[in-house]
Structures are given as structure tokens and as C-alpha cells.
Symmetry: C2
Subunit: 324 residues, 2 copies
Amino acid sequence: MKIMQLYAAMKSDLQSIEDQMVQTVTSDLPILSETSLHLLKAGGKRIRPVFVLLSGKFGDYSIDTLKKVAVPLELIHMASLVHDDVIDDADTRRGQLTVKSKWDNRIAMYTGDYIYAKALIVVSDLAKPRIHQILSGAMVQMCIGEMEQIRDFFNVEQSVRNYLRRIRRKTALLIAISCQLGAMATDAPARTSHALYRFGYNVGMAYQIIDDLLDLRGTEKAIGKPPGSDLRQGNITLPVLFALEDDSLKPQLLKEIYSIRDGEGPANSAPAVKLVRSSRGIKPAEDLADRYIEKALKALESLPDIPAKRNLADIARFVAKRSY
Amino acid sequence: MKIMQLYAAMKSDLQSIEDQMVQTVTSDLPILSETSLHLLKAGGKRIRPVFVLLSGKFGDYSIDTLKKVAVPLELIHMASLVHDDVIDDADTRRGQLTVKSKWDNRIAMYTGDYIYAKALIVVSDLAKPRIHQILSGAMVQMCIGEMEQIRDFFNVEQSVRNYLRRIRRKTALLIAISCQLGAMATDAPARTSHALYRFGYNVGMAYQIIDDLLDLRGTEKAIGKPPGSDLRQGNITLPVLFALEDDSLKPQLLKEIYSIRDGEGPANSAPAVKLVRSSRGIKPAEDLADRYIEKALKALESLPDIPAKRNLADIARFVAKRSY
């Protein structure tokens, strides 16, 4: 089954999640509804809700129960994007103006806070304290990941291991628990939710590595924001770290990175991006993403042979090949 | 019993809450522990924990249970302060540098997010979903209140009702639920937690009105930040609204407020503050705070006659008279 067919098959349940998200962020204060809906309407791949739903197939599938996990997960993701855009000083996301750019930083900060809090109200409808714990634990890790990212801006000496730890917190964990909580909410066996966690974790790692590759290789049209954003803000990603291992390229690349760091006014990351693109850093990053996808597929093996298992595998393979 | 004696009598339980707060925000990332502890160590009146503990006396008092409510409430309050300081561009709070000023806005934003999330982990230890709901509901209302405040900056046409609705969300609600949740967590009867909610709500309203009065009348030494901060950022508080009702003063006061709004560089709110201080706006604001304190005392009447009841009344009276 193709990914589009899969989304089509899940259309009604995804729509119900979308409706619940809209309803959740619609407040009595017009500006907050506006900023939140602006973001919601910009769309997204909704990979977390899709993983929640598919993982729910391994338990007693109920859209009403799964909604109470999928909605908060996607909202937490969205809230983190609003706050990231403040930090990154980003003007566009998914081809749309960001909240901080359409309104301002103050409004973006409270919009993020508001969406976080609304997400938590939804999950508190589930009488499963363990799920709340996992969810707030993931929020903590995400904050730590973001702080590590700030700390590591322009740090060209950081290890690959450091990078991997950061993206685990920043991205992989929330995708991992999307799979885990879909299974837990529907009372699937513990070994199933563990396997799904591992699946999600590995897909999440690959997902972020590919995101970082796309930021270097994509076009503004394809990725919905100007490429080279990571380097512009000092975020040293995996392909850059690998490129820096090439001694013939290193001095020039360092020079370009430092010029972004030390320059005044809008930074131009194009020369650095060009260097990394042409470097030997791309291939090993792609290979590592592939290895994570293989691990994700392996995590699925022990699961019962239901259609959702093949759907998850299809998504993992799709993630590996995505160009947006 | 004097307030200091009361704090002394509760010292060991308050210390246990303090320890748990420190432990909660101590993370594996030094910078996050540092920023959070910086804030914790600056102290504060800890009025929310005190209310939780006293309200817990009306049920099956247990410090272990009450801690799981008091710690998140105080942390949520702290997180909101960190985010407010970003918005207000405040350099000092409680006589200390703010996180945004000692570090920067980005770090302050994630420190706030981190403290919010940590607060939620603590409360998720309690298997009472209703408590989670009330807590996240209050967080939502606080965000709405903050957004209303931004929306209403420099709006000299706003009604007193508008101001009251805003401070209810911004301040009174969290104090109200501190009392309510202390009772709920210890399984006090529903009518008790309702009465305590009303008590806390009214104390909270008085508390914020007095805070706004202090910002106009206090000294930097007494209030831990330069006076006139509200007007400097455009926050039109109750005494200002009342002062604007005096037609003989209004044109001059409006002129000063508009000059803050339209001026470039650091705003000087001293002339506007001086006008309000000398105006007929102070007295009715004080009277309204007194009326809220009376209502708070009235809310206590139906409660069983235990020492905590008198302690709560003492605190309410103290709040009415505080000068810091």
C-alpha cells in the first residue's frame, strides 16, 4: 500500500483528530484561536497521530481513546515549533509565515504555552497516570534537547554522539512515545508497546537526520523554508560534522561557519551549504539514516502480523526516501 | 498568631516542599539546573504552598500527598514568572537579576517550558485525574490572561471589569486552586474545597490589586524591582483606571501615558506614576482590595473551626496590609 492510500484509508480517524485539535485550541480569546489555528491550518505530515492510530491497532482500537493521546502529542509538537521559531528567528515554516513573524515573539511565546497547556487538558481525560507521566517526561527531554542545541550552536568540535543525543531528545523521543502510547492507551501487551517504542525511536532518529540533510539539499519550495537555516543559526548537524572530518575541506568550511557566527546583519549560509553539499559528509549521514530505518524495521519483527505492521514498515521506508 | 510565627510553625513542611522543588528542577543539564535554581534561591512568599498546606488540614493531612500539589503549583507560578520577564523585558525580580537578563531570552523561554513540564511530572504521581485537569485548566487561563494583558497594553479605554477579568486569570485562579487542591488531595468534603476555592480566589484578587498598588507606591528596595514597571510596559492597572476617571487629571495623565507608548529608548514612567499617586485613584483601589479580603474571610465562615481556619484568616488580613 502506498503512503497516500494509507492516509486515505485512515482519513476519517485522522479527520476526527484534526477536528478535535481545532476544537481544543479554539478559546474565548480570538487572538489565541487565530494564532493556534494559523499553525494548525498550515498542515504537516501528522506523523505522530498516524503512528498513534496504527499502534492502537495492536490493542483494543478505539478512536475516542486514541484521540486523547494523538491530539496532545501533535499539539505538544506544534507548541514546540512555535517556541523554536522564536529562538530560530524563523520567518516561514511549511511555506507559511510563522507566528512570531506574523504576530510577534511575545504572542508566539504565550501561544506555545497555551497549546502545551491545552494538550495536557486533553490527556488528563484519560485515567492513566502513567501516560501523563510519559508525556510530561517527554516534554522535559525536549526542553533539554533544545537547550543543548542552543549550547552547541557553532560548536564545531562536538562529537557525532553529542549530535545524536540531542536529536534523540529533540525529535526521536516524541515519535517513540507516539507509538508507545497508542499501544498503552488501547491496553496492548507491554512487550508490544516496548517494540513499538523502539520502532518509533529509530524512525524518529532517521527522520531528524533526513530533516537535517534536507535543510542542506532541499529547495525552499520543497521544504517550505529557506535551505541552510540550520547553519544560519549555528546548528551544526550531522552532515556538517562528517564534512568537517575531511581535512582538505575543513579549513574552508570552518572559515565559512565562523563568518556566519561573527558576521553582522542577515547571515549568508549559502557558501557553507555549497561546501557541505559537495563534501564527503552527505553519504555517511544518509547511511546512518538508513541504518536507523533498518533497526526500526527490525523492531517490528516480533509484533503480530496485522495490516498495521506492514503500514508502519511502509511509513518507515517512506521516511527514508522523503524529499519534503 | 503572627505571620512569622505561622511560617515558623510550618517550617519543616515548607522546607520539605522547598527540597522537593530543588530536586525536581535539578536536571542532567547544568545550565537548566542553574537557571531554575537561580530563580528558586531568589525566594518568594511561597503563598501557594502555604495555602496548600493549610487547606490540607481540612482533610487527611499528609505532607507526602500535599507536596505533590504544592510543588507543581509553585513551579507553575515560577515558570510563568520566567516567561513574563521575557515579555516585560524585566531586568530584576525579587531584587535579583531575571533569567532573561542574566542569561538571555531564548534560555528564559526554555527554562520556563522546562519548569512547566517538570511541574506536571510531579503532579502525575497523584492518581487523581481531576487534579491534573484543574491544574492544566489553570495554566490555560493564565496564558489567556497574559495574552489579554498584551492585547490591552496602553488601552486607556478599558473597563474596570476588563481589568478584573484579566487579574482573575493571571493571578487569582492559581491561588484559588492552591486552596482547592490542598483540600481535594487530602479528600476533604467537596463543600470544604469549594469554600476554600472562594477564599483563595478573593485573596488572589486582593493580592494582585495590592501588587499593582505597590508598583505605583513602593520603593525599589521594598518591592525588589523598579517601581512604575507596569506603566513602563503599558500595563494599565486599577489605580490608573480610577485616576483616569478624574477629569481634571485625565488630560495630563493621558499625555504622560502616550509619551511612554510613543517614546524611543528606555521609557520614563516617573511623571505618570507621580500623577497617579497624587490622584483620587488610589483610595478606591485600596477599598476594592479590602472588599475582596472581606469576601475571603466570609468564605471561611462555613468551615470547621480548626486552627488552620484562623491561620488562613490571618494571612488574608496580612495580604491586605502588605508593603512588599
